[in-house]
């Protein structure tokens, strides 16, 4: 029987997913596990695999149209197989959802949805001229083309933009500059998802950030001492981040309130630690999740972190590797940032921001020494816990980092 392929639900907050590319068309044969489509949603891009061998019988969702999770996006079955009643009733069941999707896409048509595609056929315009026009929200139908057969060229678009800039502003110097320097980028794809999520995060929780410094001088010398051995034995390059992750995992187990989520006016406390680790990509960021980090040794955790981050950078992170985190770490140290206010990754209660270490002169007893300080910023949801327990939690992290031997146990 034909198999339904549905838009997966990739996270609790997911309302909509989009097929960004169909790799197959109706009638193409597929083997189980073949990539049939790429979808994007939330902070995630992922590939959809064929559930069984067969051919694509029908495609129900077009590229770039958002649909709710659960919507059937295509059928895979035997060649010439007729879709059964059951199938079609499933279609009908889906119908309302599709309408919702249609309504959504009418309200805010995606940049390259069907209507603009239609226009592409009727307006003669060069590819670069079209891109510039789209990025500046120019209606290409209103531009006069001077190329062959009235084709709109880059120069034509630039002329319209120059005219718009000079009309829009009186000839005051600052205004002119504003017009010239203005650049609009569409908020789409991953950016749109991040924008929505981060804004909702701030709207729907009570966030407060506290800061503390940990003296990681001893930790860094321990790292230097053991890194070669670990590299040889386990083929893992151990980094400061790995120690921090381990310190966080241990602290979370001691402070359960921080390892929690605020969902529907209930606080869910977790025994396991699914650790989220923010990874910056070229065009946004993703948060791979290390499941059951509490069961891992320092070395195991380090290895897992490396693999997940690499996967994320190569866009090979499957959806289940990006959901269910109970606490997140985000690190801006590499950019020279000291303290900052991380934004919660809902529905989590806490997120730890890590800054850049700094060499400072510090008294150890009567002696002045060069010490290494690591700035830590903890954002937490004040609805779940108050300042004092949050400070205790951060203090525990600090303790672990300052007595690094405990992290090895």
């Amino acid at each position: 029987m034909a198999a339904e392929v549905v838009m997966p639900k990739l996270g609790m907050a997911m309302k909509e997913g989009t097929v960004s590319t169909w790799n197959k068309k109706v009638g193409d044969s597929v083997s189980k596990g073949d990539m049939i489509a790429s979808i994007n949603s939330e902070k995630i891009e992922m590939e959809i695999e064929a559930p069984q061998d067969g051919v694509i019988l029908d495609i129900l969702v077009q590229e770039d149209v958002g649909v709710p999770p659960g919507t059937i996006i295509c059928y895979v079955g035997k060649p010439n197989e007729q879709l059964t009643e059951q199938n079609s009733s499933a279609n009908e069941l889906q119908a309302p959802k599709n309408e919702v999707a249609a309504a959504v896409s009418l309200e805010e048509p995606p940049a390259n949805a069907a209507p603009s595609k239609k226009r592409k056929e009727t307006v003669l315009i060069s590819p670069i001229a079209r891109k510039i026009a789209e990025s500046e929200n120019l209606n290409v139908e209103t531009i006069k083309g001077t190329g062959p057969k009235g084709r709109i060229t880059k120069a034509d678009v630039e002329k319209v933009l120059a005219e718009r800039a000079s009309e829009a502003s009186p000839p005051s110097v600052e205004r002119d500059n504003l017009a010239i320097n203005k650049e609009t980028l569409p908020v789409a794809g991953m950016r749109k998802v991040i924008a929505g999520r981060m804004h909702n995060s701030l709207l729907n929780s009570a966030q407060l950030t506290i800061n503390m410094k940990a003296d990681v001088t001893d930790l860094l010398s321990l790292q230097r001492e053991i890194k070669d051995v670990i590299q040889q034995r386990h083929k893992v390059k151990i980094s400061l981040t790995d120690f921090i992750a381990r310190a966080v995992v241990l602290s979370l187990q001691e402070h359960k309130q921080m390892n929690s989520a605020y969902i529907d006016n209930e606080i869910h406390l977790y025994n396991h630690v699914h650790l989220g680790m923010a990874v910056a990509l070229e065009n946004g960021l993703v948060v791979p999740v290390i499941q059951h980090a509490e069961k891992m040794s320092l070395v195991e955790l380090a290895a897992e972190l490396k693999t997940r981050a690499a996967n994320a950078r190569q866009g090979q992170l499957s959806a289940d590797r990006m959901q269910g985190s109970t606490f997140t770490i985000t690190n801006l140290g590499a950019y020279g940032v000291e303290y900052f206010t991380p934004v919660l990754n809902p529905p989590e209660t806490g997120i730890l921001g890590v800054g850049a270490t700094e060499d400072v002169p510090m008294y150890q007893g009567d002696e002045l020494q060069k010490r290494n300080l690591l700035p830590l910023s903890l954002t937490f949801d004040h609805r779940v816990l108050d300042g004092a327990p949050a400070a205790n939690f951060l203090g525990t992290i600090k303790q672990y980092l300052e007595q690094p031997i405990l992290l090895l146990l």
């Binding site: 060069s126 590819p127 670069i128 891109k131 510039i132 990025s135 001077t146």
Partner: protein, 459 residues
């Protein structure tokens, strides 16, 4: 009275004449020498004919590499035969233009034209002067080789490109002053024919307009053929008596004796003797001033081709001639210089279109550069022509393809693809799924495009 008179029968002039005639104008074309101008008689065509002979010779000498055994000691260049091939081609092409003139009912007058008023010309042929009137004029008088200020051409030792292609025999040594397009082409031709060539160039690199890495590949290949190259060097003295030139290289004075000294330091627009002053046409040493329709400040007079300066290439002359003629016939045409291919017929060939890497960095700051070497291209390897590479320059915001440079075998044919990309204002994403035939040299272009997007397959 004529509707339109064209002065000069080179690429700009004959194309303008044909275009205007096809629009229904009564056209006369005045040419003092031979139809076809520099391009057919002393430029593009004869040089390429010599080059074809030189390359055939070179290829035969390398036949062994392809598993063909020859009595190599018997393989020789027959210079008369080479010249015959060249003149034969030129003759046929010139005749072809003559035929086109007839076919389009264009009257061809022989003589040297100069303006008397903005509607009247004097045409001098030997000792006779005839006056010709017209409503409109197109000046397409072309250009001539620039000479050294201190040593004019003497045709015996100090020669220009026109003379260099009709020497009585293959010279045993040749000094080339100027390592630009023409100088490098002659260096390629004669070095492959066995002449000991020396290039003296004032700039830091050969082909000063092109990217250094592209020009460097050519330099290496010329040096392999025994060409001595002195860049950042200036000529100080020419002594025709003993055929010796003095030049300074890195503060050191060099003395060089050669059979001939080819001066290829550029070409100057032929603006003198046309009576431009008489009608008040604006011009300078750099050429006649024109607007985007190739119109001079005198509205019924147009100018196009080498005579307006700018890019001195035959295909630019064709395009400008067309625009001038169409505008003179009431069609609103502008010149489009966006995608002018620049071809250098050396061995290996060089061709580029759009911006060089440096120009692009100056204009856009951070750009993307994709490269692919012919050493990884099967077709190039098979032909034993794997020297060179393709380089594509992409603007980072919209992925617009803004420049393509190729150094390598058949570069001047391959560049047509780049010309289309720039002319069509294409972006790399438009080209991603482009299918290049396999095995071809064209694959290198596709790979360079993919490389610019970080997706090259074969490198």
């Amino acid at each position: 009275m004529n509707n339109l008179v064209v002065i000069g029968g080179g690429p700009a002039g004959y194309v303008a004449a044909i275009t205007a005639a096809r629009q229904g104008k009564k056209v006369t074309l005045i040419e003092q020498k031979d139809l076809g101008g520099t391009c057919l008689n002393e430029g593009c065509m004869p040089t390429k004919s010599l080059l074809a002979s030189a390359e055939t010779y070179e290829k035969i000498k390398k036949a062994e590499q392809f598993g063909i055994t020859l009595p190599l000691e018997q393989v020789k260049i027959n210079w008369d035969g080479v010249q015959h091939h060249k003149t034969n081609i030129v003759k046929k092409l010139v005749q072809g233009i003559g035929y086109l003139m007839k076919k389009n009912s264009i009257k061809v007058m022989k003589g040297e034209a100069s303006f008397l008023t903005n509607h009247r010309l004097a045409v001098r042929n030997e000792n006779q002067v005839e006056e010709v009137e017209a409503e409109q004029f197109i000046i397409a008088a072309g250009s001539e080789p620039a000479s050294l200020p201190f040593s004019p051409f003497d045709g015996k030792w100090i020669i220009h490109s026109g003379q260099a292609m009709s020497l009585p025999a293959i010279p045993s040594s040749l000094l080339i002053v100027g390592g630009g397009v023409i100088g490098c082409e002659f260096a390629s031709i004669y070095s492959q024919m066995g002449t000991k060539v020396t290039i003296v160039e004032a700039a830091e690199q050969l082909l000063p307009g092109e990217d250094p890495d592209i020009a460097f590949t050519l330099r290496e290949e010329l040096e392999k053929k025994g060409v001595a190259i002195y860049t950042s060097s200036s000529l100080t003295e020419m002594q025709p008596e003993d055929k010796t030139a003095l030049f300074k290289h890195k503060e050191e004075l060099h003395e060089l004796q050669s059979d001939y000294a080819l001066i290829s330091i550029g070409r100057k627009p032929r603006v003198l003797g046309l009576g431009l002053e008489k009608v008040g046409i604006h011009f300078s040493k750099q050429g006649i001033d024109v607007n985007e329709h190739m119109q001079t400040n005198i509205p019924n007079i147009y100018a196009c081709g080498d005579v307006v300066g700018g890019i001195q290439l035959a295909h630019v002359a064709f395009h400008e001639g067309t625009v001038a003629a169409l505008h003179a016939c009431g069609k609103d045409k502008n010149v489009n210089y966006r995608a002018v291919p620049r071809c250098i017929y050396t061995h290996p060939e060089i061709a580029s279109v759009g911006m060089t890497e440096k120009q692009a960095r100056d204009a856009y700051g951070d750009i993307r550069v994709g490269e692919f070497s012919f050493t990884a291209n099967g077709k190039a390897m098979i032909a034993n022509e794997s020297v060179g590479k393709v380089k594509v320059i992409v603007e980072p915001q919209f992925n617009e393809i803004i420049g393509l440079s190729i150094v390598g075998s058949h570069a001047t044919e391959l560049i047509g693809q780049g010309t289309i990309m720039l002319h069509g204002e294409l972006t790399t994403d438009v080209m991603e799924d482009f299918i290049a035939a396999h095995p071809t040299l064209s694959e290198a272009i596709h790979e360079a495009l993919l490389h610019s997007a970080g997706q090259a397959v074969h490198s």
